[in-house]
Symmetry: C2
Subunit: 147 residues, 2 copies
DNA sequence: TACCAGTTGAGAACGACTCTCATTATCTAC
DNA sequence: GTAGATAATGAGAGTCGTTCTCAACTGGTA
């Protein structure tokens, strides 16, 4: 049977969803786990991973692969938008470039794929990382300092 | 000292690079490993992973995160291009939408990020996956049949 | 209240990737 | 060529994010 056929909005799942909706910074599953334990201390990691998966498959959240790290990031903003990603620290902020539909339509005509959407990530350096001449590898240190 | 300061083009590394350049299908590291063993049977997995990392950091290959699976994919085509990705089986083909520079410039003006580039992935269903009414989850089965 | 599908947490399992380290290959003087 | 220095290699262990397993539990429903 397919999972999440009759999903309940249990207190644990509500807590995960609340945390995600209060997090505009595209947290990892592990970060969601840390934050949700502040209001639901006994929750298990498996429940957080399962709930995030359910939210994604029911369209209440997006799973992002920002390429920098190994872990997926989650986004409660399910409206069409793009991302601006810092190549050094991984910080990701919402942007919307509004790629012309004509460009996507051109792909439809020149391939035999059925197009369902697109994912655009703009890469760059955030203000913090421009200021600190880094080592060349990711240094998300300043993220901790902004709690 | 930074790695790959004086990289040598050893027979193993040449074999990996040759395999990648003969692979327009964006193989995973594991797939590169399988293919390179046909010409360099004794090569170790660590060497393949290390070599792919070196090729990426020296600009001779691209590492892609196509979001569908868990593993990175590699691309010897280092010219500017985008990707059309099948959401069911993960097949990825090269496309080029030519996103107008004006759109990217707009991001530069409205944020304090320094923009270095962008990554555009168009999502859809490949012809194979349109034909086979699937289970809803990835089914790369038909990829094997095309050797 | 009894039923029972759905949910939960702990820990094991998994898979992609990285690290360690002893051995081997290659380069650079002589 | 030979020797010594430096870099590369492969096996296997280790890491880490994520998924799986399963026994206990919960919460709608009749
Ligand atoms: Mn977002
Ligand atoms: Mn490509
Ligand atoms: Zn940054
Ligand atoms: Zn497909």
């Amino acid at each position: 049977m397919s999972p999440y056929a009759h999903p309940r909005l249990t207190p644990r799942r509500r807590a995960v969803l609340d945390v995600l909706r209060a997090s505009p910074d595209h947290p990892t599953a592990s970060e969601v786990y840390d934050r949700v334990r502040e209001t639901a201390p006994g929750i298990g990691a498996a429940t957080v991973y399962r709930t995030l998966g359910m939210l994604v498959s029911t369209g209440q959240a997006l799973e992002l692969n920002l390429g920098d790290g190994v872990s997926a990031r989650y986004d409660a903003n399910v409206t069409r938008h793009d991302h601006l990603v810092c190549e050094r620290c991984g910080r990701a902020v919402d942007v919307d470039l509004g790629v012309p539909a004509a460009l996507v339509d051109a792909v439809t005509r020149t391939t035999s794929f059925t197009i369902t959407g697109y994912d655009l990530q703009v890469r760059g350096l955030c203000p913090h990382c421009q200021a600190s001449p880094g080592t060349g590898h990711p240094d998300p240190g300043h993220l901790e300092k902004e709690h």
